[in-house]
Amino acid sequence: MTEQRVPRGAKVRLGAVEGDLRLETGVRVEVEERLRVAGEIRCDGRAEFVGPVECERLRVDDGDVMIRGDLQVHREISARDSALEITGGLQAGRVDVDRRLNVAGPAVAEEVEVGGALRGGASLTADRVAVGGRLSVAGKLTARSVEAGGAIDAGTVDLESLEVGGAAEVGGGAIRTSIEAGGRFRATGPLLFGTLEVGGVAELGAGSTGDRVEVGGKFSADGDLTFATLEVGGIGSVRGDATGGTVTIGGRFEVRGSLRLQGKAEIGGSISVGEAVDGDSLEVGGHLEARRAVFRGTAEIGGQVTTREGLKAARIQLGRRARAAGPLVGGEVRVDDRGHVEDVYGDSVELGDRVEARRVQGRRVRLGDRVSVDEVLYTESLESGDDVSVRTPARKVDRLEPFPL
């Protein structure tokens, strides 16, 4: 194949080249309508093309190349120690740029690899995108996999997987298989996702739906959220309704609407639900606050329960010195020593030593030493410890009124 060479610093006007085109450094090419090069364009240093360019391959060594127009490369772009700037759109097979790639228009390629930074002013569509530093796409980002060492920001996304060392912010869309972010992940709009693993902070837009969420620090959803598992090391918040399988939160969990779980909720610190919470079981180290809370299995609370309508579970266990505001309704209810509760209803109710209660109703009731209760109603048995104080004498009745909840 023939080669047309342009000497260093030359200004030329070209339209079509039958073979290869080789430019020495500092060349400016004025394009006649469209520059069509049948073979390879090779730039040994910086170059500028004014107009659209089409070629089989583009190779750049040690220089910045500017294309004022569209660039279409049928096979590969390779830019060693170089940067590439395109003011129009880009169509290419494989793109491999060491330093920086800027594309103002829509970009379509099979594979894009950039060492430093990639900035897209419109959309970017590729099978695989890998960037060492920062990836920024103003429009839609569509790819099978996207990776960046530093940061990613994009408009809407349609991806299989996204992996970023530092931070990622997307407008919403779908990341179907996995999201991995070292520091921070943020979706400002609704996101459909598979797994979300973030070391630091994750923020999701309202109406997001995913499978597994694992966040080291803080997690928040700006509205309703649906998930299979939610694990947060520090603080979690959902500013809407949360529906899912299981929840494990190291610190505090706040849900502004209702929380519906198929499985267990384990909260190290406190849980606050604006509306109702229901699930299989609950374990809270600190405080549970909700309009109402209903669990099919066990509810274990270490510190305090505050409900307007009550807490109901097959088994309720309140820790030592625990406090409950609102009724407790159980199959089995046990309040450890020095607890302070209001009304307690259960098939079996056991109050530890020095517990203070308002009203107790149960089939079997057991009161520890120095328990203080306003009223006790029971149908089957009552066991009392020493120095128990019951303001109205305890009464055995044939049957109890239906329990709340």
Binding site: G115, A151, G182, G183, R184, G199, G200, V201, G216, G234
Partner: protein, 111 residues
Amino acid sequence: MVLGDPRSGPGGRRREATDLYATVLEVIKRYHGAARVTRISYGAGMPVDRLRTLLERLVALGLAHVEEQDGRPLYDLTARGQEFLDTYWKMRAYVEVLGPIGRDVRRGAQP
């Protein structure tokens, strides 16, 4: 700099050695065993001479692995390097959750 990017310290503070190590290791990780020095330099935004010193240290500490291919060194992340990154991000998560120490906390800490 984007919050959460290791190229800025947690809470916007000046980046420390650990932030630099994390930045470089995250870039190395993206190349799946084929990270060239120039590529890492562009990705981490760090001059090559300074980067070489840092890479030597990462290799000496067992956080990165280097292998010659066609006379050029190619870097890869080791299991220990991944462990460092996991710990680094976990610690930054704790810092994020705890937040800056308020005046009341500082005052409370004083006798």
